[in-house]
Amino acid sequence: MRRSMFILLAVVLASAAIFLASFWLGGHLCRAQLARNIDDLHWLRLEFRLSDAELARIRQLHENYLPKCRSYCEQIAVKKRELHVLLNSGTNVSEKVEQKLGEIAALRAQCQAEMLRHFTEVSRAMPPEQGRRYLAEMRRLTLGFHEQIEESMSHLSAPEHGHH
């Protein structure tokens, strides 16, 4: 092989090594910088470019909301434990199991309503455009998952309904 070919091969390999090393370095430095921030609301500041005043207002709303959310979650966890006990005690779906499922669903619905109220309040504390974007994003992230499942299930069951 000619000398120039060896040189070109060496240049390509050295370039790849330099790029990968600097890629790792850049990523490492950036991660180290971002890891220092352990604030739960850091994403809001990053994504919606909030001012300190806006973030302070949202932090207040956030602090007020957390105990309510925690309370609902604890109640749901208690009901779920009771449901497991009922399910383990028999093989049939009894009336008690059905009732427990209803209680969990009701609690979950209350919690979701509270959550959506909180999202609305937070969106109002943001500039209008960012607020709209936040609300849409939060609805998509929190309720969209169920909507996707329900939609996929309804598509799956549609041909079966057609047979009946």
């Binding site: 120039s4 070109l8 790029f19 890629f23 990523g27 950036c30 919690c111 939060m138 929190t142």
Partner: protein, 109 residues
């Protein structure tokens, strides 16, 4: 020797034939030099156009200290920026999950 002695008629004929022969076209000045120049140029062109000639020139160019340093600096800069962007995107996703886990725990979603 017999043939070398021309008859008077034959001598006339030869003289006429010489007169009738078309004159050779006159060559332009430095014709020979120009031909060699063209040959040299054609050879140099075929070498430069070949793939190996191209790699030779590229290797020479890359080994020049100035261009090598510029290349290393550019690669380093691009790598650092790409790494930082990639880490920022990943960190943003982590921060979003963190926020969601607090305001909308999995059992509520």
């Amino acid at each position: 020797m017999k043939n070398e002695i021309l008859e008077p008629d034959e001598a006339k004929l030869t003289a006429l034939l010489h007169e009738c022969r078309p004159a050779a076209p006159s060559l332009p000045p430095r014709f020979e030099h120009a031909v060699w120049r063209r040959i040299e140029r054609a050879e140099a062109g075929s070498h430069a156009g070949s793939w190996l000639g191209w790699t030779d020139r590229l290797a020479d160019w890359l080994l020049r200290p100035r261009w090598a340093l510029i290349g290393i600096a550019a690669l380093f800069l691009m790598g650092v920026v790409a790494g930082a962007l990639s880490a920022t995107t990943a960190a943003k996703a982590t921060a979003r999950e963190r926020y969601l886990a607090v305001v909308a725990p999995n059992q509520v979603r």
